[in-house]
């Protein structure tokens, strides 16, 4: 309070000046025909510019919401892609109950809200949880490329193990059907290693590396990156490929959780194998 009084005391003449000038402006505009006309004209000219600026500002405020809408739409469109459908087209037998139009994977838009500090074992938190039926083991995609795999689910949030985590193992392959396991050695966040590709498969630098879809984690054919170089593993008959990632998983904000509708259907078949 004392400070306010002090400010007024120190700037008293300025405040008085501004107040009286405002009063004068009011008087000028209201009691002088010429000035009123000029003021009205000026207002008309300037108002357009002001309105433009205001609407630009408001558009900017809406961006977050617009972004959310776009993201949801992306999720919906992606889940309609070929590789997200279960491969039952052309099966006409009516004894098969087509659950939801042959849909296999659904996509859920989410945002990365937190991530661990950079280490050989990176994790991140997204803002969807049990409330959207996320379960451990589901894959998480970025705008392009992969982000990680769901680890722990709480009510409203989920921790995902980034693909840049030394425990990550992802089934990945090339267009020529060679496939192996993608893992990270904890060193360079731009490169991962695709191991156990048989030596006789011809591979060239620049070949695209896809997900295979042999697990229920990621749909088939998601681009992961490109081959940078090949390292023959002497004596094992296999080669390791250095894969240059298409995305930067540590900087991505938009996440898409992949939910496999047939997971429960496929899971018992995988375990009874052993």
């Amino acid at each position: 309070m004392e400070q306010i009084l002090r400010i007024f005391y120190n700037n008293g003449s300025f405040i008085t000046f501004v107040g009286l000038q405002l009063l004068c402006f009011y008087l000028i505009v209201n009691f002088n025909a010429t000035q009123r006309a000029i003021a009205a004209e000026t207002w008309t000219v300037r108002a357009g510019g002001v309105k433009d600026a205001v609407s630009t500002f408001q558009d900017y405020l809406d961006l977050r919401e617009e972004n959310e809408i776009q993201q949801r739409e992306n999720a919906e469109l992606r889940s309609k892609l070929q590789e997200y459908q279960s491969n039952r087209q052309g099966v006409t037998s009516d004894s098969i109950q087509d659950l939801i139009y042959g849909q296999r994977f659904t996509i859920l838009a989410a945002n990365v809200v937190n991530r661990s500090s950079y280490s050989p074992n990176n994790t991140a938190i997204i803002d969807r949880g049990n409330n959207f039926r996320i379960q451990a083991g589901q894959g998480v995609l970025g705008d392009e490329g992969l982000l990680g795999i769901v680890d722990v689910v709480s009510n409203y949030h989920t921790r995902i193990i980034s693909i840049l985590h030394r425990a990550t193992r992802i089934s990945a392959g090339l267009r020529n059907n060679a496939f192996g396991t993608l893992q990270w050695d904890g060193r360079d966040p731009r490169r991962m290693t695709l191991t156990d590709i048989a030596e006789f498969y011809p591979v060239s630098p620049g070949d695209t590396v896809f997900t295979t879809g042999y697990s229920s984690v990621f749909p088939t054919g998601q681009v992961i990156g490109t081959v940078e170089s090949m390292v023959i593993q002497a004596g094992t008959g296999s080669q390791n490929l250095v894969v240059r990632l298409i995305n930067d998983p540590l900087a991505t904000r938009n996440a898409f959780v992949v939910q496999d509708l047939f997971k429960d259907d496929i899971a018992p078949l995988n375990t009874s194998n052993q």
């Binding site: 003449s13 405040i15 009286l20 004068c24 008087l27 000028i28 000035q35 000029i38």
Partner: protein, 174 residues
């Protein structure tokens, strides 16, 4: 009319108001159907307020004088705005023109130690600030800056001269 007491200031108020609205209002020169030269003695009243007047009070009194002038000119608010501006600008004029040995407001309330040159400069600043603001308010849009500049350039010397004459005749104290 020459002192710093309230009565002198009230007389000054009346006298300068009378001069401005009944005599100098009639004087305006111009060509081509437009007047470009006017005479303003109103800033002199603001300039001659006692130096010890609190600054906000200077602004308020200046406003009152301006609105009184407006009442006779029929331009409600225009002179008031200019006088208010001059009242606000006064403190800066005094600050800029402060003599090296400072104002002897307390030691010698006469204020006679201020030279003729000081008075001319002081009145010049006040007249200029009043005039420029007045014409800006009269035109009321920066689009008319040519007109504002022309009128100011022509009016300031005449008004300055007249105010200077009044000051040297009266030898007022502030």
């Amino acid at each position: 009319m020459r002192g710093v007491d309230a009565v002198s200031n009230i007389i000054r108020f009346m006298a300068l108001l009378f001069l401005q609205v009944f005599i100098f209002r009639q004087v305006s020169l111009g060509w081509g159907g437009a007047d470009y030269i006017f005479i303003f003695v109103a800033p002199l009243f603001v300039a001659l307020l006692p130096m010890r007047t609190p600054r906000p009070l200077v602004v308020i009194i200046a406003f009152l004088f301006g609105i009184s002038v407006d009442a006779f000119y029929g331009t409600l608010g225009v002179h008031a705005a200019a006088a208010t501006f001059a009242g606000y600008a006064r403190q800066f004029a005094l600050l800029v023109l402060e003599p090296r040995e400072r104002y002897k407001v307390k030691a010698s309330p006469d204020g006679k130690d201020l030279s003729q040159g000081w008075w001319l400069r002081y009145v010049g600043i006040m007249v200029a600030s009043y005039t420029v603001f007045y014409f800006s308010m009269e035109a009321f849009s920066p689009l008319f800056w040519r007109e504002i500049a022309l009128k100011s350039v022509l009016t300031i010397p005449v008004s300055w001269l007249l105010c200077g004459i009044i000051v040297s005749l009266l030898q007022p104290r502030i």
